[in-house]
Point group: C2
Amino acid sequence: MPDPTAAGARPTLEAVAAHAGVSRATVSRVVNGGAGVRRPLADKVRRAVEELGYVPNHAARSLVTRRNGAVAVIIAEPEFRIFSDPFFEQQVRGISRELTAHDSQLVLLWVEGPGDHDRIGRYLSGGHVDGALAFSVHNDDGLPAVIRRTQVPAVFGGRPGWAGQAADRAVPYVDCDNRGGARLAVRHLLGLGRERIAHIAGPRDQTSALDRGDGYRDVLLDADPALIAQGDFTAASGARAMAELLQRRPDLDAVFAANDLMASGALGVLRERGLRVPEDVALVGFDDVVSVAEATDPPLTTVRQDIEGMGRLMVRLLARVLNQGEPEPGADTPGSVIMPVELVRRASA
Amino acid sequence: MPDPTAAGARPTLEAVAAHAGVSRATVSRVVNGGAGVRRPLADKVRRAVEELGYVPNHAARSLVTRRNGAVAVIIAEPEFRIFSDPFFEQQVRGISRELTAHDSQLVLLWVEGPGDHDRIGRYLSGGHVDGALAFSVHNDDGLPAVIRRTQVPAVFGGRPGWAGQAADRAVPYVDCDNRGGARLAVRHLLGLGRERIAHIAGPRDQTSALDRGDGYRDVLLDADPALIAQGDFTAASGARAMAELLQRRPDLDAVFAANDLMASGALGVLRERGLRVPEDVALVGFDDVVSVAEATDPPLTTVRQDIEGMGRLMVRLLARVLNQGEPEPGADTPGSVIMPVELVRRASA
């Protein structure tokens, strides 16, 4: 428990200003780096700070009362994916805003390949950050093990599915209801009277993609395997998968793509072939990344997850972990959150 | 001077492996965090490391023999700009590759607004990075002062133009020949017989944009001010500026846009108005951001700067600063580099 008397006895910014005979704003500027304050004035303030034993109140504002005031955001994807997929932008935006609200500095790292793991591990072990937020981890990814070894508290974006994860220390994470969302999408297409509903699947090594595929199969128990094509969450892979599907099953009348970018790639191929969307082929995406789903022609019906909100939640969860300490090995992951999703109806289905 | 005898006497990875009775790969894994190595084996290796006094060779590989092995890349732009302008991606890619080659960890920071400066200053002051690379700084930007106060060695991308910069400590930077490149562009349009060449200018508070405007005026000394419209380097601002120019000077027959993104925005407006490019209006951009300049229809004639190469150079310059110490106040900036540019002819002009 903090001692209110002790807290009250701490010299305030105002006291320093009065002591130095300068404005509160000047003291604040000097304490925060001194930009724009002339030398003699800054020296005066620094003397007053020293004489009164003033301690700036950063710690109180920061995410936790640890020393770094910084959190690493690690995206387990190469740089070209991060800058080309607006999903990451929205997630990083949510994280950035919440960290700013906690007065904690976001430092963004990414992973070009496993060769980067050692260096990232050394950085995290170096005591430069209070915690880590990691997302887009793949199931064969060595990154979670690297993060675990560093003992830096971490929260994951997306349900962990990596090897050995089950036996591992409980890992708090934030995800959306991927499987339920996929069911919503497929049921919507069934409700429109579609009978040959194809699926463009996301990468086989990410739980989000696997869960969306499971949701598709939950509803279409006897789906023809020829109606399922493999993508990797990029628009180009959506186009390739669409071309494959049309070759295998030219009679298909609907497509559920596991994300909006792949749906946008599929849409391009459908138009090239002269197929009308939604009249000939109804199309549903996943994510509701606004810059994609609203920009296509026609705009995409899609499953909305609150991407920015999930980013914010990751920060709050990390703050809780930092304040309460690590969960025990083998314990439940009481902090993990599965966020609801909803179907957003636009013109494509 | 390193003592070769002492260096030779340092126990090697191989010696540790032999001592512990394990493979070289296992020692390497344990030394680099221990991912994937079972506990008893890892303990054996750690004992051998201790007994032999083995020191991993990180320092030798790292950018400099400082302790952090990390460099901050600070983009003085809000997150939505960073993720939507492929220029930043290319520059960051160059930096990232060069830092990886130096075994130094890139940590990316950005600036939503001046309210972030204090926090960034505290982070830099916290001793978490060996140096900083900053780019897209604006002339009224408080960021350079913040970085200077922290005394973290820094290299800038783009010629410094901020207030007080001239009187300041010499600041090493990397830039391209913006003014010469603009002259190339305008002379090319003149060479095509164009007589009413408009300019879509970049932000008034960035030297790159100002220098390109100066290059335009170097060639067209008596250019009608109505032929110059203001943009901010985004595609949307290029479209707005193009609409303005067509209203003021419907007789214009060429446009030099200060970057490719604005040229792509201008192109959209020209097509909407039924103007053919290059027949009715010839169009030249600047940057040669491939994902923009090659993707437009018609592809853009533009001034190519080696964006990725500039990123790499920034890292090399920083390495030199870190190895040689800071330049003296008022000294020249011997390390700064102005890179040449070239005109790339495509269909738009």
